[in-house]
């Protein structure tokens, strides 16, 4: 009798232990599957959100060139179908990891995308679409976080190399894509040289156009003879092959202590403010500078075309001094076009002290990259997806990172 009881007790104990063990093993498998399912759902959402961003112009369709916030968020160019993005919509996104600048004369803070000396895009903070607004318009707030990056597929890297003759300027242009150099690619370039004038006069400039090809390694060399080393210059090159187009630029200036900073003031009217650098960055030895501004568009044959700014001559000249009262601190000009292009402003203090600054009107005209949204680095699980897009003929890769804000576990 006692033996039977012990047998029952032992068997029940073993049975319960086995049931416990197996339920644990089964539940782990099921839990893993559930988490996988969640990750799969985030990946699907990521792809859907990316297409929603890229295949929808937003509402109103031309919101990017109106000073209002859209009621529906989208980045597609309303003039096109498929994955053509609006260069102005991208320009109105508040950059992630921004390093804003403050312009006291207008008591305005500007977002700052700077690619090098005199290659900047400053936009008023209060007219940009920020991350939280975009999240809300996309219906993602409090459920998903995202980060959108657009990177030019084609990089055109330009560097100065030692010339054969002392009066030459020799530039090496390396054109690479996302995974391979662009061998045998046509390269159209524009050489913009600033001619200083006597103090008080406005700087002048000359433009040369030409074309060449990259070699098997995606490299091309361009030599300019009779180059005056005391001159400021800007070199811009467009590389294009098989539908891929990229732009690169390189410049040097003889005078950096005072220069012109262009601030976008109004997207709708195309108003741009030209400010003195000392009023923004301070610095040593500030001086009065004269400027000469022009606006150029990229033609379909990859040459440039000058567009009138706010008068029929197409040129805007003036002078800027530092530390002035707000009424006299800056100059205004208006870009009267909805086509993207490049604002080129030459400046000079004297015949020898010259420089040139550029600003894209439409993010793609100088192939500026875009980073918009939250920070994915501290998230447990981030899904990503990519698309190839064109922004006003320039090829970009759009990458969206998306994560859940409602908690998502990770296996392993």
């Amino acid at each position: 009798m006692a033996s039977a009881s012990v047998d029952h007790m032992v068997s029940i104990t073993i049975f319960l232990a086995a049931i416990l063990l197996f339920s644990n093993i089964f539940s782990q498998t099921i839990q893993t599957a559930v988490i996988y399912q969640q990750h799969r759902s985030i990946a699907t959402k990521c792809s859907a959100v990316l297409d929603s961003l890229l295949l929808n112009p937003g509402n109103p369709e031309y919101w990017a060139l109106e000073d209002s916030t859209p009621s529906t968020f989208g980045l597609q160019d309303p003039e096109f179908k498929q994955y053509h993005l609006n260069p102005f919509a991208l320009m109105r996104l508040m950059p992630a990891n921004d390093n804003p600048v403050y312009y006291p004369q207008l008591n305005t803070t500007y977002s700052n995308i700077t690619r090098g000396f005199g290659q900047s895009l400053f936009m008023p903070y209060n007219k940009l679409v920020n991350y939280s607004t975009a999240s809300m318009l996309l219906g993602l707030n409090n459920t998903y976080g995202f980060s959108l990056t657009l990177t030019p597929i084609v990089s055109v890297n330009i560097a100065e190399v030692e010339p054969e003759q002392p009066d030459q300027l020799k530039l090496r242009i390396l054109v690479v894509g996302a995974g391979f150099p662009l061998a045998g690619a046509p390269l159209n370039y524009c050489f913009f040289m600033v001619t200083g004038r006597a103090q008080g006069s406005y700087p002048a400039y000359s433009i040369k156009y030409n074309a060449t090809f990259t070699d098997d390694a995606g490299v091309a060399y361009v030599v300019f003879n009779d180059f005056d080393r005391q001159s400021s210059f800007l070199f811009m090159a467009y590389a294009h092959l098989g539908g891929l187009t990229g732009i690169g630029y390189y410049g040097d200036v003889t005078y950096r202590e005072s220069f012109v900073i262009p601030f976008i003031s109004n997207f709708e009217t195309g108003e741009v403010i030209l400010a003195h650098s000392w009023d923004v960055h301070a610095g040593d030895n500030p001086a009065e500078i004269a400027f000469n501004a022009t606006f150029v568009l990229l033609n379909t044959d990859y040459t440039f075309r000058e567009m009138p700014l706010d008068n029929v001559t197409g040129k805007v000249v003036g002078k800027l001094n530092y530390g002035q009262d707000p009424q006299h601190a800056y100059a205004n000009l208006t870009i009267n076009t909805n086509s993207s292009g490049i604002l080129i402003v030459t400046y000079s203090k004297s015949a020898k002290d010259t420089g040139v600054v550029i600003m894209p009107w439409g993010i793609s005209s100088l192939a500026f990259p875009v980073t918009f949204g939250g920070d994915p680095s501290n998230q447990e699980w981030v899904a990503t997806d990519i698309r190839q897009v064109t922004v006003n003929e320039i090829a970009y890769q759009a990458k969206l990172s998306l994560w859940s804000l409602e908690g998502s576990q990770v296996i392993g």
Binding site: S11, A33, P78, E79, Y83, F180, Q388, A395
Partner: protein, 446 residues
């Protein structure tokens, strides 16, 4: 002991069941859980490659190694380094005899022997460059349900300041230029039809509200006989003037939210009806027209602004010196719409900027640059306020240019203001097509 053995047997059975079920409950690879959408990546890559029709050219020029080398380089450069690809061109056999293959592989480029464990494909239809390139214009009003263009082509009205053209030829030219951009384009063939419109009755079932009405009669405007030329409605008997008709016209423009278009000269300077004014001439020997003078425009603007009618014969137009230049916006739209009028012209009937505040107008489009407070050509929108909210209701396009009229300026002004889009079709699918398949795979393990 027997129970323990039974339990052990049960454990063995459960273990067996677990092992057996595990064979079916296979968890996916991590790459399958959060994949890059290779199908979309392939499609967008094909679209990029064909953005300048290079892919289409290559698809129909299989022997051109230079073109194919460029395509190969571009494809390699466009994709991330860890992506494998295979691009193949297929010919589509449209006349497919029984048993023949539907697609023939023509040429292929790849960067790998095989595309790994996961791959996906997208297809793209390339069309020969021999086919017609099409531009499909967006139609004004296609989303809102209105979008009617009325062109006054009244057979019982003579025109003035249209020297070199007849109103009929101007109407035809305007039709050719603008009808693709409107949902409905309707010729108003006589003054009776104009009267019908003014009464708020559509001519052929179209939406007459929010329409554009173009007066192709230059400085003359058709006037219907009867009600609209009667005393107190169209005729101001104390002042012996048909300025009141222009006032009524302005009111109708406001009421129906029309955009009234004057193509040249002083707007509404004469009224015209060959039957009614058969014995009247405009002072220059053209019968069927009666001069109203500057009072007409003043009355029209009063009507547009819903002000009380006051007869005023003060001329308000001006003649700024020199030639007037197209505005930058108009110059840009010349390229967009492919309409190229002369970029400058004299404008001896320019409207003053003072009318903007006086009649609550907004200049929404400048056709010519403003010069010394004169607008040689512009689109004005009348602003009203309802419950504190401002709206536009009623519009007026006035081209104060000197004769002879250039109807392209009218078309350019309207298109610049309404901004309909031109949808450029990527190589239409008529004619020969070839199928391009891009298969993408990823390097590495699972």
């Amino acid at each position: 002991m027997m129970r323990t053995v039974e339990v052990l047997i049960i454990i063995i059975i459960i273990t067996g069941a677990f092992i057996a079920s595990s064979q079916f409950a296979v968890l996916p690879w991590p790459r399958q859980i959060s994949p890059i959408n290779l199908r979309r990546l392939a499609l967008t890559t094909l679209q990029i490659l064909d953005s300048n029709y290079d892919l289409s050219r290559a698809a129909f020029d299989l022997g051109n190694d230079t073109l194919w080398d460029g395509l190969h380089v571009a494809l390699s450069a466009a994709l991330p380094p860890n992506v494998l690809y295979n691009l193949t061109i297929y010919e589509v056999n449209t006349s497919n005899p029984q048993g023949a293959t539907l697609y023939n592989s023509l040429r292929s480029i790849s960067n790998a022997e095989n595309l790994g464990v996961t791959s996906d494909v997208s297809s793209y239809l390339a069309t020969s460059s021999n086919v017609t390139f099409n531009v499909t214009p967006e139609r004004i009003g296609e989303h809102s349900g209105d979008g009617t263009l009325y062109i006054l082509n009244c057979s019982d009205t003579n025109s003035w300041w249209t020297a070199g053209y007849t109103s009929s030829s101007l109407a035809t030219d305007l039709y050719n230029l603008l009808s693709p951009f409107f949902v409905n384009t309707i010729f108003v063939q006589n003054t009776s039809q104009l009267g019908q419109l003014l009464n708020g009755t559509a001519l052929s079932g179209e939406t007459f509200k929010n329409a554009v009405v173009v007066n192709t009669f230059g400085e003359a405007v058709p006037i219907p006989d009867g009600y609209y030329s009667s005393t107190g409605v169209g005729y101001d008997s104390p002042n012996n003037s048909y300025a009141l008709y222009c006032y009524t016209l302005g009111q109708k423009v406001l009421q129906y939210n029309w955009t009234w278009v004057s193509i040249v000269g002083y707007p509404l300077y004469y009224v015209g009806n060959t039957a009614k004014f058969s014995n009247d001439q405009n002072g220059w020997g053209i019968y069927g027209i009666k001069q109203v003078g500057p009072a007409a425009l003043n009355a029209f603007l009063q009507g547009l602004d819903n002000q009380t009618y006051t007869f005023s014969s003060t001329s308000i137009t001006g003649n700024p010196s020199g030639v007037m230049y197209l505005s930058p916006q108009a110059v840009e739209n010349c390229n967009y719409y492919g309409i190229y009028p002369a970029p400058y012209q004299t404008a001896s009937r320019s409207l003053p900027t003072s009318i903007i505040t006086k009649y609550h107008l907004n200049v929404t489009t400048k056709i010519f640059d403003t010069v010394d407070n004169w607008n040689p050509g512009a689109v004005y929108r009348h602003e009203i306020t309802v419950n504190g909210t401002k709206f536009f209701k009623g519009g007026f396009l006035a081209l104060g240019v000197t004769r002879t009229p250039d109807i392209r300026l009218t078309a350019l002004g309207l298109l610049s203001d309404y901004k309909p889009r031109n949808y450029a079709s990527d190589y239409t699918e008529y004619g020969v097509s070839r199928l391009v398949i891009l298969q993408l795979g990823l390097l590495g393990g699972v």
